[in-house]
């Protein structure tokens, strides 16, 4: 093998990756990215540094390296410039490709297989999420550390050098901070040593101890959900879920999303690729090359932790497991290349089926994510510009589509660029899908009456999204808003927001930050419930001083009728109280709400008698 060919086998996979996912390198932030980007701003007021780094967040995940430290570190250096984040993601993936190349060479003895395995892995469309969404860096880093640990194990077995052994431990332990599924590494190491290096089997067993400790801590800090989209179901659905992942892993089944494609084409593609891969592995096993079972074991073991998530079957979970099948596929192709033409033809045909079904999807999904992020960038950085032109004025947005809302509004990216009061225009949530598992779009909408008053008082600026740029349409809306927006009483009052001041009666203090203190009693006005079974929600903060003489009691009345009362026992804690609303209030245009505390207190250095701190009152 010439020097140039050798170099090419290492350089070709990263170049191929760049070609397939080029737009991923230029993709801006969207969705969860904004929650992670904001994390560092919550230190130390809302959370401590250690809580930010290690507390379970986002469906109970704890990924200090791949999410918390990555986003906090890079955003501290680069703010909302996504390019450095993306370059780092690609560099990590290039390292993974080199590791898969090296591992494949070691296991198969074939440089051609080493070249093909990372290319087959890269070609799979399941990688599009990881390569075009910064929040999915956990998959990239987790995969890299898993491959690194395994490569170092192989090298240790090969050379006996202690440095590789220590390196393997470090990569394994770091991997636990990147992605939960790395907890399976000791199982991978055990299976590998059983298949290829039995005298090392006992040596890898101690790695199960930190894995078990990690599982125990994880279970303790973030118990798995028993229901809902992230519910863990150890039931008869596991084989069905596994089959679904197997179909997707081979490629053709992902074409089911392409309209007008006959079902038999997909089934035939899946069957032929299954026969090719499993047949090759069986042939090798028959010749007592036990290592041929390892790539399949990799796929099964690494996929194992997500199989019980039957309500959340997602192709992006295939990112790391696919490395195993790519290894087997690369090996099979390399073997076929050295045989007579019928084998070469069969191998080429199967590779063609795989690439035709995966590669175009990988590129088109990357493009769609890039385009989505481009719209989000236009909105967020447009809002930043608008806020500079109109400092201190709340901004109201029109023309936000469903996709733009969930990708670029819901996680409140505007606070990252200094815009803290950004609302959707009245009734603009009609085009936004309900996703109660995430939150309510209605929370982002400025009620019609508030918007009309604020517009008349020149307190807000209205912008239209969805065009080439964000466009100021305040002048147009000053003419037409009264004909468009219904002046209904709001069913949501942000007590500490000046736009809502007109809804408040006596008993409230001045705005402090985003809140107001209430005295012993306070009143406000809200629209009535829109249907039966709705409740009045109160959200705020209970100072410890109020509870110095024992629990405090807050009573709530609507239109003079007592709704109930609630006892507050936790000092210096947020509270959220719910009072069911009687059905006879349904449809009332206005309700007078009265809040009454059984005591007040005077903090040191104050002269006022104070009660609770309020943030929000709403009907839902």
């Amino acid at each position: 093998m010439s020097r140039a060919w050798r170099a090419a086998t290492w350089i070709a996979p990263p170049l191929f990756c760049l070609w397939v996912y080029w737009l991923g390198l230029k993709t801006w932030f969207y969705q969860d990215d904004f929650a992670w980007l904001h994390l560092r701003f919550e230190i130390p007021e809302r959370v401590s540094f250690w809580t930010a780094l290690f507390a379970p967040m986002a469906q109970g995940t704890i990924r200090p390296l791949s999410e918390r430290a990555f986003f906090m570190g890079f955003s501290a250096l680069f703010g909302v410039d996504a390019l450095p984040f993306r370059i780092w993601v690609f560099l990590t993936q290039f390292a993974s490709l080199a590791l898969l190349n090296a591992v494949t060479r070691k296991l198969t003895g074939s440089p051609v297989a080493g070249l093909l395995a990372p290319i087959l892995w890269t070609a799979h469309s399941a990688l599009a999420v990881a390569m075009a969404w910064t929040s999915a860096y956990n998959q990239v880093l987790g995969g890299c550390l898993l491959l690194a640990a395994f490569y170092l194990l192989v090298r240790h077995i090969e050379t006996g050098r202690r440095g590789f052994w220590i390196g393997q431990w470090i990569a394994f332990l770091l991997g636990l901070g990147a992605l939960e599924i790395n907890v399976v590494y000791p199982t991978l190491a055990a299976v590998y040593t059983l298949a290829a290096a039995r005298r090392h089997f006992l040596k890898v067993l101690p790695m199960f101890l930190p894995a078990a400790a990690y599982l125990w801590v994880h279970q303790h800090l973030a118990p798995p959900a028993s229901s809902g989209i992230y519910g863990v179901y150890l039931d008869g659905a596991l084989p069905t879920t596994l089959w679904k992942y197997w179909e997707w892993a081979l490629g053709p089944a992902l074409l089911e999303r392409v309209p007008l494609l006959p079902g038999w084409v997909v089934a035939a593609g899946t069957a032929s690729l299954s026969a090719g891969l499993l047949g090759f592995a069986a042939w090798k096993l028959k010749r007592r090359q036990w290592i041929a079972a390892f790539p399949l074991a990799w796929f099964m073991i690494v996929l194992g932790p997500v199989l019980p998530l039957r309500e959340h079957v997602s192709d992006y979970y295939l990112t790391v497991p696919l490395a195993g099948l790519a290894l087997l596929g690369g090996w099979a192709l390399a073997e076929a290349a050295g045989r007579n033409w019928p084998w070469r033809a069969v191998a080429a045909a199967l590779a063609g089926v795989y690439l035709v079904s995966s590669l175009p999807q990988a590129r088109s999904w990357t493009r769609s994510r890039y385009e989505r992020a481009r719209e989000v960038r236009k909105l967020v950085l447009g809002v930043a510009h608008a806020q500079r032109i109109h400092p201190g004025k709340p901004l109201v947005l029109l023309g936000v589509s469903d996709d733009l809302f969930w990708a670029g509004v819901f996680d409140n990216p505007f606070r990252l660029v200094g815009a803290h009061e950004v609302y959707l225009a009245p009734s603009s949530d009609a085009v936004i899908q309900l996703r109660p598992e995430f939150g309510e779009s209605a929370d982002y909408v400025l009620p019609g009456k508030i918007a009309l008053t604020a517009l008349a008082n020149q307190q807000i600026v209205v912008y239209q999204a969805g065009g080439r740029r964000l466009r100021n349409v305040t002048a147009l809306f000053e003419e037409i808003a009264a004909r468009l927006w219904a002046p209904e009483e709001p069913r949501l009052v942000h007590v500490g927001n000046r736009l809502f001041a007109g809804q408040l009666g006596p008993g409230w203090g001045d705005i402090e930050g985003r809140h107001r203190w209430m005295s012993r009693d306070a009143t406000l006005r809200l629209g009535g419930p829109t249907g039966p079974g709705q409740s009045l929600f109160l959200g705020g903060y209970c100072p410890a001083g109020l509870l110095a003489q024992g629990p405090a009691r807050l009573a709530v009345a609507v239109n003079g009728q007592r709704l109930g009362s609630s006892e507050l026992r936790l000092g210096d804690h947020r509270f959220e109280l719910e009072f069911p609303l009687p059905d006879h209030l349904v449809g009332l245009p206005v309700m007078d709400v009265r809040l009454e505390l059984n005591r007040t207190f005077t903090p040191p250095g104050e002269t006022r008698r104070l009660g609770l701190v309020f943030g929000i009152v709403r009907v839902r």
Partner: protein, 180 residues
């Protein structure tokens, strides 16, 4: 392999240094998206795919599809510039719309109503799929020199299902006021 690892490490180190050293400056230089502050010039006819006309789509329009059309929600509204001499002669409201077969299979028939400043225009019911044009006379009395706000309402909507729970009504390509 060792050489390769060294090479990768060196590249990563150099890139890290470059990224970090440039970090603070880049953060300052994050380019904002310039907004258009001039009030929009309204058109009498709005093509829903035209980015320049986005400001006239006031509510109830979903995102652009295939670069040429939009789904509406059950209620939608546009702002239109009155055509020349509309205050004397009135104008004609023209909506170019389409109703896919799959929609009418579910809903059987759809009725579209238009209202201008509280004045309801005669509704129309569609029970056949395909392209349609909703045309109504707008009396001159409704033109006061201000932009016209036309509110539309459908009597039924549907959700596509399969993860897409959007409230969908009809497909619209163009809404406009034609001079008489």
């Amino acid at each position: 392999m060792r050489k390769l690892i060294l090479l990768f490490s060196l590249i990563a180190l150099l890139l890290s240094a470059a990224l970090v050293s440039g970090g603070c400056r880049r953060q300052e230089r994050t380019r904002l998206e310039v907004t258009e502050e001039e009030p929009p010039v309204l058109a009498s006819v709005v093509h829903v795919a035209d980015p320049a006309a986005a400001a006239q789509l006031l509510k109830g329009f979903h995102g652009l599809e295939q670069g040429s059309w939009r789904w509406t929600a059950g209620s939608f509204a546009v702002a239109l510039q009155p055509p020349a001499r509309a205050a004397e002669r009135g104008a004609r409201l023209v909506v170019k719309l389409a109703i896919p077969d799959v929609v009418l299979q579910r809903l059987k028939a759809l009725t579209l109503r238009a209202t201008i400043d509280g004045t309801a225009l005669p509704p129309e019911t569609y029970s056949r799929p395909g392209d349609h044009v909703y045309t109504r006379e707008v009396p001159s009395s409704l033109f006061t020199g201000k932009p016209l706000v036309v509110d539309f309402a459908l009597d039924k909507t549907f959700a596509p299902g399969g993860g897409d729970q959007r409230e969908l009504g009809i497909i619209v390509t163009t809404i406009g006021l034609e001079a008489k």
